[in-house]
Symmetry: C2
Subunit: 609 residues, 2 copies
C-alpha cells in the first residue's frame, strides 16, 4: 500500500495521526533548515514539512517539480493556515520519505494558467491532463455520463452495444473504412452513428435503448470538430414525438440538477423551425436574450406562411432595399449613442468575408425621442419611427439593418445578433436556456443532382398528416427552377432539435417504420431499387416483420459537456483529442504502416502527388 | 401515447381498469366467435380476448404472427388462469384495436426453442433478438455492465474515454487499420486495448480509471472469437499487486451479488502459475472439482522448483515411460468399473489429433482393494498401489496416465481432466469458483527470432525483486539451445489472471513505470532504440515526467457475461455478432466500396488472387 490517505483528505480532526501520502511535487519552498513541499494528487494538495533531519538528504537529492513522492509523517496543525485549501489547516511533519520517480523539468507549468501553448500542450497531453482546469473538465464529463446513464436506467432504458465494424453506406458525410484482411478487396466502415442498429433493436422489441458511444465522420475538419466524437444515443418504441420530447427534457434537467445543482423547473419552450428562422435567422437560436428579427422584406417563395413588413420600407426609392430579396433588422438595446467610429467598425464587421454583407444600415433611436439614421435621405423621421416601433425598439436602442440575398442575409443578421449580444454581455455563461426546435423541413434541395436530400437523415418520418403527400407523389423534380413548387418542398419532418444557449446539443426524429414509405424516401434521395437493397436491404427486410412505431434522439456528448463547463471548445473536454488536421500529435498518428501490413490487406498506396 | 401499460404489468389488482397495450402477436387461437391473442413485448405476454363484435373484422383482416398490434380494453379476471405467466390471472376484453404494422411470416419461430438454424438466425438477427432466450442474455449483459460501473464508481474510479483512431504498433496480434484521407499514405489503427492510454492517465494523475470499451484484433478467428470485443478496462495508480487483487475480487463479488444474487463470501484462492501448471496442467484451472495431476515424470529444465515422483515408475523397464519427457496421471473418481470398451474409447479420445497422445495407460483401483492396469506386465500390484496412493486415488477410482513430450502431455492431461469431469457432471453450471493465478513468467521464448516475447504484454513489470536481474543482464540469447539458462528465463511477472470455472475472465499486471526498465523490456523484445521511439516515444517520454507506480486489469466482458449466463458461446451475448469469417451476415459486411472512396483515400486494391 503506497498511501493511507489522499492529498485532499486530511483535516484538523486528523491532528496527531500518522499518515502516508503519495503524489506529485507541486512546489518546493526552502526556509533555512526547513523545506515546505506542496504534494498534489487527483484529490488535492497537502503541505509537507521537512525538518532539519532531512536537510542533508534533500541537499544531495533535491526534489524537483513533478517528482513522485511518498511521505510518511504526523498530521500537524499549521500555524499559518491557508483558507483557500480544504487541507489548509494542516501539514505533515515528515518522518520518512521516498522518491518514487523523478521528473525532468516539464515543458510548461502544471497550473491553471499555464505558460504552455496549444501545440506544446497537445504534444505533452499527459502533462496537460495534470492541470486542474483540464481535470475539472473530465470530472464534469464523467458526472454528465453518470447522470445521463442513471436517468435512462431509471426510465427503463437498456445499454446495448452496437458494432463498430459495419457496412459502408455513404450518405452525407464520408465513412472511415477498414480494409478486411480475411475478405480481400472488401472493407468495413466505422459507424457515423448507430442509427440503423438502434432502429433494428426497436424492431427486435427492446423498446428503450441507450448507449454512450463513439461515432466517426471523415469530414474536412472545421474548427472544433473531431473525427471521432461521442453521442448519448437513444431510441424508444411505441412513442410519438411528444413522448420523446418529455422524456429527454427530463434527462437534460436531471443532468442540470446532478452536475450543476441547477433546478431547471420551467418547461422547455418549443418553437417551430420556421419561427426560429423568422425570429432569429437561425435554427439554433440563443434565447437567453431577445433582440428578435424584424422581417422588413422577404421573397415570396420562402416562409410562405409569414408576412413581412415591406410596407415600412417600400416606396422610398431606396435602391438598396428595393433591389434585394431580403431586408432584416434587429434592435440592439442601449447602443443609440454609438459613435461614427463604432458604426463604421460594425459596417466593416458585416463586410468581412465570413459575413459577406455589402453594408449596414442603422437607425439610432435617441433617448430624446429623435431618430438618426444612415438612410435619412430616403426615410422621414416618421418612417424611421414606424420601423422602430415594428422592431420594438426602446429609446436608446440602435437598429441595425442588413439587406441582400435571403439566405445569406438571414445568416448574417443572426451572426450580428449574436455578436452584439456578446459585446453587451447578454450571453451569460452561467445562464442556461433550453429550447426545442420542431417541424423541420423533411427535405432540402440538391441543386447539383436536381434531387432531394434528407435534412436530418433518410430514416426520419414526415408529419403523419403528410405521409400521403409523400407516398402519393412522384419525388422526381421535373422543373428544377420551380423545385419549391414540388409537393415535397413543403413536407415537414417529425424531427426535433434541443438547443442550449444557441448550440444544438441533441437532435432526433420519429422514424419511418413502413417499408413502402422508406422506399419512397430512398427513391426521393435518388437511390434506385438495387442500391436500396444493396445498402439498406437489412432495414427494409426488418420492416417486413412487424416494425413498431419508434423514434429517438442523439445528444452530442462532447458539446453538451463543453457548454455545461462554460467553454466554447469541445477539445478541452476530451482526454486525448485530435488537432484540426485530424492528427494525434502526442502519438504522431496517423502514420505509415509496414509493407507487410499492406500486403496482408491486399491494398497498395496510390498517392496522387 | 401508444400504450398505458406494458404486456408484463397487469395483475388482478387492475381488474376493471381500462388499458391500452401495444406489442407483437405471439399466438392467435380461435374458439368459435371468440379469438384469443397472446400479445408480447419486452416485459411479458398478456392475453387479449376479442369477442363476437370483432369477428367480421378479424376474418377480413386476420392477425398473423408478429403483427404489431395496439389494443384497448378492460382488464378481466381469467376463468382459466395460467400460473406460469405473471400476467396469467388476467386478460383484456378488447374494445378497440389497431394494426400498427403487419408482418410477413417469420423465417423461424420466435420461441425459446426456435426452429431456426444458426445462419438463418444470424441473417435475421433482428428477429432472433426477439426470442426470450436472447433477450435474457442482453439483459444479463446490461446488468453486469451496471453492476461493474456502480462498483467502480463507488470506489472512486472515473470513466474516461480513450481514442479509437490511434497509431499502429503491431506487437502480437494484428491491428485493424484505417486509411487517413487527410494524411495520404498514412493510417490510423483501431486499439487492441486502451493499454498505453490508461497508463498515460495514471501518469496524468487520474489514479482510478475505468471504461467499458470496444477493442479490436485482426486475428484469424477461432471459434468463439470476435474481431471486435468489449473489455471492462481498469487501471490504478499508487498500488501494489495486493491492492488490485482485493479491489477486483470485490468487483466480481459485487457482480455476483447484483446479477445472480449469489453471496460469494469466501476469499478467492490464489495459485502461482507454476502450481496451476503443476497441479492442473493449465493456467486457467477449473477448480470446481479436484482431480489434480500426479507428476510422475518431468524434464529437469521445467518447473525447476518442483519434484516429480519418478521413483514410482522408474526401474520397471517400461520403455514408454522410460523414453518420454513427461508422465502425468489423474485419478478419476468412481470409474474403476469402466469396461474394456470404455477404456478403449478413452484411448481413442486421447489419440485424436486435437489431443495428440500415442496412447493411454490406466490403473483401476478396484473397490475390493485389488488393482488392475494396462501395464500389469511392468508394474507389480505393490507398485500400482504406490502410484494410486500418490494420486490420492480412492477405491473405485480409475487412474489415467499420459506419457509424451512435456508441453503436449501436460496440455493433454488437462484436456482429459476436463473431459472426465464433464462426463461425470462435475462442471456444474450453477456453481462458480474463482481463482487468481499469479507469478506468470515475464517472458516466453520465440524460437524463430531467437528472442524473448512478452507473455502478457511489454508493459508488465517483473517482480520487484527481479528488476535488478532484468536491468543487469543483456537480453540477447547467445546460445539458442540453452535459452532456459538465460537469466531472463526465470523472471516472473507481477501479473495476475482471474479465472472463473476454467475460463480466464480477467487479466492484468503491475506496469513498468521507469523509462530505463521499459527500454530494457523493448530491447528484450528485439526493438532497437529507433523503433522504440517511433512506436512508443510518447510513453517513454511520459515516464520522464514523474510516472507513478501503477497497475491494472481488463475483464473480457463478453466472456464474463457468457459464463454468468451459463453459456459457452460469447456470440449469444452480443447483440450483433460477426460469424467465424468476421462477417456480419445481416448487413452483408464487409463489402466492396466505391472507386471514389478508394481514390479519396489514395489507395488501390492489390488482390493476390
Amino acid at each position: 500500500m503506497y498511501r493511507t490517505h489522499t492529498c485532499g483528505e486530511l483535516r484538523l480532526e486528523h491532528k496527531g495521526n500518522q499518515t502516508t501520502l503519495a503524489g506529485w511535487v507541486q512546489t518546493v519552498r526552502k526556509f533555512g533548515a526547513i523545506t515546505f513541499v506542496d504534494l498534489r494528487d487527483r484529490y488535492g494538495i497537502t503541505q509537507l514539512l521537512f525538518g532539519e533531519a532531512h536537510t542533508k538528504q534533500l541537499d544531495e537529492n533535491p526534489l524537483g517539480r513533478e517528482f513522485v513522492l511518498q511521505a510518511t509523517g504526523i498530521v500537524n496543525e499549521r500555524s499559518n493556515k491557508n483558507p483557500n485549501l480544504p487541507t489548509g489547516d494542516i501539514e505533515i511533519i515528515v518522518s520518512e520519505f521516498n522518491i518514487l520517480n523523478k521528473s525532468a523539468v516539464p515543458p510548461f507549468t502544471i497550473q491553471d494558467d499555464t505558460d504552455g501553448g496549444d501545440d506544446l500542450r497537445m504534444k505533452y497531453r499527459y502533462l496537460d491532463l495534470r492541470r486542474n482546469a483540464v481535470k475539472k473538465n473530465l470530472e464534469l464529463r464523467y458526472a454528465v455520463n453518470r447522470a445521463a446513464r442513471n436517468y435512462l436506467h431509471t426510465q427503463g432504458f437498456m445499454d446495448i452495444e452496437t458494432p463498430f465494424l459495419i457496412k459502408s453506406t455513404p450518405e452525407g458525410a464520408r465513412d472511415f473504412v477498414v480494409p478486411s484482411r480475411m475478405n480481400g478487396g472488401q472493407f468495413y466502415a466505422l459507424p457515423q452513428s448507430p442509427q440503423t442498429f438502434k432502429q433494428l433493436l426497436m424492431v427486435s422489441g427492446y423498446d428503450r435503448y441507450y448507449q454512450v458511444v463513439k461515432c466517426f465522420r471523415d469530414e474536412d475538419l472545421r474548427a472544433d470538430r473531431q473525427p471521432e466524437f461521442t453521442q448519448i444515443d437513444c431510441e424508444m418504441a411505441f412513442v410519438e414525438q411528444e413522448d420523446i420530447l418529455n422524456m429527454f427534457e427530463g434527462m437534460v434537467k436531471h443532468i442540470f440538477k446532478e452536475v450543476k445543482n441547477i433546478d431547471y423547473t420551467e418547461a422547455v419552450p418549443r418553437m417551430t423551425w420556421e419561427d426560429a428562422m423568422w425570429q432569429y435567422g437561425n435554427d439554433k437560436p440563443d434565447i437567453r436574450f431577445d433582440m428578435k428579427l424584424l422581417n422588413l422584406k422577404k421573397p415570396a417563395t420562402v416562409y410562405t406562411e409569414k408576412k413581412d413588413d415591406a410596407a415600412l420600407i417600400n416606396g422610398a426609392d431606396f435602391k438598396v432595399f428595393d433591389e434585394v430579396e431580403t431586408v432584416l433588422a434587429i434592435s440592439v438595446p442601449g447602443c443609440s449613442e454609438y459613435s461614427r467610429k463604432q458604426t463604421d467598425e460594425l459596417t466593416e464587421w458585416v463586410k468581412r468575408p465570413q459575413i459577406g454583407m455589402k453594408g449596414l444600415v442603422f437607425i439610432k433611436v435617441n433617448t430624446d425621442g429623435s431618430y438618426k439614421s444612415s438612410v435619412d435621405k430616403f426615410y422621414s423621421e416618421e418612417k424611421l419611427k414606424a420601423i422602430a416601433e415594428a422592431a420594438h425598439a426602446q429609446p436608446g436602442d440602435l437598429i441595425l439593418i442588413l439587406a441582400g440575398a435571403e439566405e445569406r442575409t438571414r445568416k448574417a443578421i443572426s451572426e450580428l445578433r449574436l455578436e452584439m449580444a456578446e459585446r453587451l454581455g447578454l450571453r451569460k455563461k452561467d445562464e442556461y436556456k433550453l429550447v426545442w426546435i420542431l417541424d423541420f423541413p423533411l427535405f432540402e434541395y440538391d441543386e447539383e443532382g436536381n434531387r432531394w436530400v434528407a435534412r436530418h437523415h433518410p430514416f426520419t418520418s414526415p408529419k403523419p398528416s403528410q405521409i400521403e403527400t409523400m407516398i402519393g407523389n412522384n419525388p422526381v423534380i421535373e422543373n428544377a427552377a420551380e423545385y419549391l413548387k414540388h409537393p415535397y418542398a413543403n413536407i415537414k419532418a417529425n424531427a426535433y432539435d434541443m438547443v442550449l444557449n444557441g448550440n444544438e446539443i441533441g437532435g432526433g426524429s420519429i422514424r419511418i417504420y413502413q417499408r413502402e414509405l422508406q422506399e419512397k424516401m430512398f427513391a426521393a434521395l435518388g437511390m434506385n431499387k438495387e442500391e436500396q437493397l444493396h445498402k439498406f436491404g437489412f432495414l427494409l427486410g426488418a420492416f417486413e416483420y412487424g416494425a413498431p412505431p419508434h423514434g429517438g434522439i442523439a445528444f452530442g456528448f462532447d458539446r453538451l459537456c463543453a457548454i455545461l463547463g462554460g467553454s466554447e471548445s469541445i477539445r478541452d473536454f476530451i482526454a486525448f483529442p485530435k488537432n484540426n488536421a485530424g492528427r494525434d500529435v502526442m502519438l504522431d498518428a496517423p502514420s505509415t504502416i509496414d509493407e507487410k501490413q499492406l500486403n496482408e490487406l491486399q491494398i497498395k498506396l496510390d498517392l496522387k502527388n
